[in-house]
């Protein structure tokens, strides 16, 4: 039986694989906006047991606003200021990253099956998606040189952890104060990273992290 949440999870996986393949920064930001919106919708689809409350919808709208509009908006402002807006020499190539992404999916399925969790099948699928998204975020963080791509990797990792949290810790999703605080932290994190990015771009005329190699022992 195909649950409606499977479609959403498939869309998330698609955005993950596309972002591993993409070399244009603007395309990555758009993918992040798309992924952010789909990820925010997942609790709304899964938590039908408690019924859809007014609070749940309001929180969904807030999530979509922050993850789908505000953060990608800030990122695209940063991309527009950058001279070279393509990733030129990634540390790990695009084909290799894409392949790693596919391996990651198989690996996540293996882990999830290995855990022998007594939970509904759509939650297991959610766990698979979450682990893959988190892992792909880590790949982007380590395999790319542009500072902007690294921020996107961080966001993707955060999305993955959010999905894992949705699968494991349902308790948290009923506490809006806490979720709001986490969201606020994420927003400020991207804001601070954006300001530093802007200064790096201003000082070095590029956002290549290979330029950041002065400090070492």
């Amino acid at each position: 039986m195909i649950h409606i949440s499977d479609i959403f999870l498939a869309l998330i996986l698609l955005s993950v694989l596309l972002s591993l393949r993409s070399n244009r920064l603007m395309a990555l930001v758009k993918l992040m906006a798309f992924q952010g919106i789909v990820v925010s919708a997942v609790p709304l689809i899964l938590d039908t047991a408690h019924g859809i409350t007014f609070k749940l919808i309001m929180f969904f709208l807030l999530l979509v606003f922050v993850k789908g509009i505000l953060i990608p908006g800030m990122m695209s402002v940063a991309v527009n200021k950058v001279v070279v807006s393509t990733e030129i020499e990634p540390i790990i190539g695009y084909h290799a990253s894409l392949f790693a992404g596919l391996i990651l999916i198989i690996f996540s399925v293996y882990i999830t099956n290995h855990l022998h969790l007594a939970m509904a099948v759509q939650y297991k699928m959610l766990l698979v998606t979450g682990i893959t998204t988190m892992g792909a975020g880590l790949i982007l963080l380590m395999a790319r040189r542009k500072a902007i791509t690294q921020v996107i990797g961080y966001l993707m990792m955060e999305n993955g952890i959010y999905l894992i949290g949705t699968a494991l810790a349902k308790e948290v999703h009923t506490q809006y104060v806490v979720e709001f605080a986490v969201l606020l932290d994420l927003l400020v994190a991207v804001l601070v990273m954006g300001i530093v990015l802007n200064d790096i771009n201003h000082t070095f005329d590029d956002v290549d992290t290979a330029l950041l190699g002065q400090l070492k022992d």
Partner: protein
């Protein structure tokens, strides 16, 4: 009332962004005084938390809060005079961020809800980032970028750890609020496998923030590039807060009967940190980086002490107090050294006793303190940890521990001797030292001395209460 310790700095901090620099300095110091008053109210239990759902007043949290508040009082005093000497174009941002940073750290100290603790630790990273890149040089940009990215990713992993801990509760079908206090009461029913996994992610995540090797790579860069008052705060207060987060989870593990496992993890990370800092301190050319590696070492010592438990746990918390006092005194001294010589390179300094005698003596005394010489407190705490380890039969761990201590002392003493006693070719200094900028570091050192001679009963009791949950006791 408890929440005021982070509300007040938060509000004043935001206001300072928009106020002129001189008013901001005044606001910085007066908020520090108010913060100290509220902390004292909490310390003597004259008022309780408003909502116990998210915040509470625990002995270990109060200890960290008290150290933070005490340090901030002196550091803010130093900042007021330090700012008079340096030209900083964005001074309101610096002063405001100092206060927001204070607010975030206070929130860590009193957080009880697991996710709230996570939120507060992440907030400390974000609020302290502007402090590091306030100079906007190439190096400080690099340091800030590494700091924000490495710590955010690390702390994101800690969020995963939080979810695992929560899941260990849901797996056993228990419904309690997800705060450390209530989880501890049902700890024995929690699923041990997921709790262990959660602890590992906790240590990796918050350990990144605490500077445990091999996740420490951001720490030397951030500590050396930040202006000295900010370095003092990072090293003296922030690392304690990160330690507190790890310690809370360690206490939960003990309550769940998994104390041996978590102790071994802490000892392994602690010893790794000590060895790494011993290797990197030997050929250091930058005195602020040297002190930063020393912070990594001391966090390792605390982790080892807590891991060994018993008498060593008492030593570890005593070590935390004295390390904060001595290390922030040292970092404040480096502010004066940097103003006088205009460089952070050890080879270009020298002759501190002739050129800047007050700072020279304070810096050297601080170094003696941090290396564990009597009469300073680190001597007592390290001795207690070693005694505790021998009692517990951890001979291999304590051999590595002592070996690293010797190596670090040998490496650092050569550098410090060179800075303090060597002849310098030209005897010109840029900005002479002043009493106002040496007094805070002297007072911090004297406090450390005073606590060795007379440890007030309330501090003694608080340490006892903090470690009783992990089986620590001063009677061995």
């Amino acid at each position: 009332m408890l929440q005021f310790v982070f509300f007040i700095p938060l509000i004043v901090g935001i206001a300072v962004f928009f106020l002129p620099a001189k008013t901001g300095r005044l606001a910085l110091f007066s908020t520090a005084v108010i913060h100290a008053l509220f902390t004292a109210l909490e310390w003597f239990k004259l008022s309780g938390p408003l909502h116990t759902k998210y915040f509470t007043n625990t002995p270990d949290g109060m200890l960290v809060l008290a150290i933070l508040s005490f340090l901030f009082l002196f550091i803010s005093l130093y900042t007021v005079f330090y700012m008079g000497e340096v030209e900083m174009s964005k001074e309101p941002i610096f002063n405001g961020s100092m206060l927001l940073f204070l607010s975030a750290m206070s929130m860590v100290a009193i957080a009880d809800h697991i996710i709230m603790l996570w939120v507060a630790v992440e907030a400390t990273t974000l609020m302290s980032a502007p402090l590091i890149f306030v100079h906007r040089s190439k190096e400080s940009l690099e340091a800030t970028w590494k700091y924000v990215l490495i710590c955010s990713v690390g702390i994101a992993l800690a969020l995963l750890g939080c979810f695992f801990v929560i899941f260990s509760m849901e797996m056993s079908n228990i419904q309690v609020p997800i705060s450390f206090t209530s989880l501890t009461t049902v700890a024995s029913q929690l699923n041990p496998v997921w709790l262990k996994a959660g602890f590992i992610f906790f240590v990796i995540g918050f350990g990144t923030k605490m500077g445990l090797a091999p996740m420490h790579t951001w720490l030397p860069d951030a500590h050396s590039e930040a202006p000295s008052p900010a370095s003092a705060l990072l090293s003296g207060a922030l690392l304690n807060c990160a330690f507190l987060a790890v310690y809370r989870c360690h206490q939960l593990m003990f309550a769940a009967g998994l104390g041996e496992y978590s102790s071994n993890v802490l000892i392994a990370f602690g010893l790794a940190s000590m060895l790494v800092s011993a290797v990197f301190i030997l050929n250091q050319t930058d005195y602020k980086r040297m002190l930063a590696y020393s912070s990594i070492e001391n966090m390792g010592i605390i982790a080892v002490g807590i891991g060994i438990g018993g008498l060593a746990a008492f030593g570890a918390l005593l070590h935390m107090i004295h390390h904060s006092l001595v290390k922030s005194s040292l970092f404040l001294s480096t502010g004066n050294i940097l103003l006088a010589y205009g460089t952070k390179v050890i080879d270009k300094t020298g002759g501190m006793l002739q050129l800047i005698p007050k700072t020279g003596v304070t810096f050297f005394a601080g170094f003696a303190g941090i290396s564990g010489f009597p009469p300073f407190g680190l001597f007592v705490s390290e001795l207690l940890i070693i005694l505790g380890a021998i009692k517990a039969g951890r001979y291999v761990a304590i051999s590595i521990f002592i070996f690293s201590l010797i190596l670090i002392f040998a490496g650092a003493s050569r550098l410090v001797m060179q800075m303090v006693f060597n002849e310098r070719e030209n005897n010109e200094i840029l900005i002479p030292e002043k009493w106002t900028r040496t007094l805070p570091s002297i007072l911090l050192l004297l406090t450390s001395l005073a606590l060795v001679i007379w440890l007030p009963d309330s501090i003694y009791q608080t340490i006892q209460n903090s470690i009783s949950s992990i089986g620590g006791t001063v009677n061995g």
